[in-house]
Point group: C2
Chain length 370, copies 2
Amino acid sequence: MNAPFLSLSRRLRRTPFSPGVEAAGVKAYTVYNHMLLPTVFRSVEEDYHHLKEAVQVWDVSCERQVELRGPDAARLMQMMTPRDLRGMMPGQCFYVPIVDETGGMLNDPVAVKLAEDRWWISIADSDLLYWVRATAHGWRLDVLVDEPDVSPLAVQGPKADALMARVFGDAVNDIRFFRFGHFDFQGRDLVVARSGYSKQGGFEIYVEGGDIGMDLWNALMEAGRDLDVHAGCPNLIERIEGGLLSYGNDMTDDNTPHECGLGRFCNTHTAIGCVGRDALLRVAKEGPVQQIRALEIEGDAVPICNDWWPVLSEKGRKVGRVSSAAWSPDHKTNVAIGMVKLTHWDEGDEVEVVTPDGPRKGIVHETFWA
Amino acid sequence: MNAPFLSLSRRLRRTPFSPGVEAAGVKAYTVYNHMLLPTVFRSVEEDYHHLKEAVQVWDVSCERQVELRGPDAARLMQMMTPRDLRGMMPGQCFYVPIVDETGGMLNDPVAVKLAEDRWWISIADSDLLYWVRATAHGWRLDVLVDEPDVSPLAVQGPKADALMARVFGDAVNDIRFFRFGHFDFQGRDLVVARSGYSKQGGFEIYVEGGDIGMDLWNALMEAGRDLDVHAGCPNLIERIEGGLLSYGNDMTDDNTPHECGLGRFCNTHTAIGCVGRDALLRVAKEGPVQQIRALEIEGDAVPICNDWWPVLSEKGRKVGRVSSAAWSPDHKTNVAIGMVKLTHWDEGDEVEVVTPDGPRKGIVHETFWA
């Protein structure tokens, strides 16, 4: 089928940057945390090349924040994740798998530690607010949990440092990876982190208060004119090349962090208090039986991957699924993310991928392209 | 702006009926509970007239179920809602406001009581599963909570009784409003309820197991050929005329059930165990200061309502918002749903509605059109 239209309603929330996104000629959206997330401006391929060469401004307001505030904030944060947070300092961002009591993934956000008693969880696409609030209430913790008026704006690409320095001053380039600092814009104190959902480098600006959103958008666009700045968005091809997972596509609450290849973010033994600890100790010891892998799919460009594609062994047995796939102009092959059983997850293992256009040969890789 | 395209991915889940929906020429979707929900087949107006005259089959798989099973299922269900569930019998469906500990609306689902120890919650657009599971875990309740493989298919319209009898037998017409029975289709036992998100009458079939989805879809389409059966979907105009609320559009977790005009579904005094009871006792006593109302908006057809439109008093003070609006061909006016302060919520009160095209005169009504 052709790409269908999206019916707009208030339920699919607009963002402080929507006027800029529309003026820049957004062609398509997805819906993420009940909010509009642009997916294409010129074309997925043009946006891809531009992202790797220049700098883009991304409306990622849909990375909503769950804010924890109060004496039990750190305890509640640790209850959510098998990553040991004891060594985390204010000013740091941690990628944290969030698990339920069975060790199933509920979200894979970035935790932002603002202070000992104040955190933001910058969430992927599920209503983590409901899990966190009910947990705080059920365990009678002394903590406020809500969704603040914070809309992240990402600046991504090799020229991100240059652009950001023009708007926030040179000091912004001193921010280290997954650290953040406080910077002034129009008298407003904003959290600026070196992070983002691409492998091209860049920043995420946590814009508090929607009223200054378009001023910041316009300031970045004007300051970056000679850097060829352009409105952009998370790019399907680039994120697959880089192995950046997408919650709901590449994993669901059926999967443990270990299956998602996120074992390195789990310190299950010492993550005391994590509600999924008992369940995950077992997995941590024995290892998962399936795991996220890079897959190369041979042949011409694959169609849009809007459902899981079965991955079969040479004997026709199901040994996995492909969850994200796209043609890579730079690597001249189809790049994909899938979950593969341990019998077929070694480098170079050959499998059959059942695409809607028919079966294709797939080659499993232990590392991603970027 | 023109209607944008929707980028498809696995994260926006397809349903067991997607092949039928696509073959019927779906023109646009929205995203609801991380799933595709059709919004237009022929045109919103054509679909509207047809729904009121004939019978439609709706893919409402996105009404996902949260299943509660075990000795504490009924206790957990009562913790969620200020509606007193003690008198509810197996075989009944109850519309239940779901509230947090502050009395804010988290969802407005239909609860389906399968047995004393087994319930389905047929949810509106938010991940209620997260709230219910964390509550069960935090309070250490003896209950299993998960999302079963159940995809509702609705049959709506004045000829729904005739069509359903042809597929399920005449006994299906004995089901009373908001009751359900068990009916056989291809040897599978299915729950069939007299319910649905329209005021035209009809049924919702809870299809367990996606594998029989298209068989049932096709059986209904074939049996109803001479009834002019057509693929359809919840219709924006018809639901506004009928005052059927949409979670995320017309209300959010900022609103109490009383503000939403759902006070008649609250028995807060006797709903012992409801986590929001303390907060709501206060509101139940004093009444809300703003409430959902029908609004007539004068002039030509309004544009798409994709953001809250301010509602102003004669003095220019903000006294509410419009959250859903559309031109009604039958009533020859713009019908709308809004939240209005008590100073302006009486029948016939005049207000100003600030639409994207400019201000319009609005008239407040205490009852909806259908």
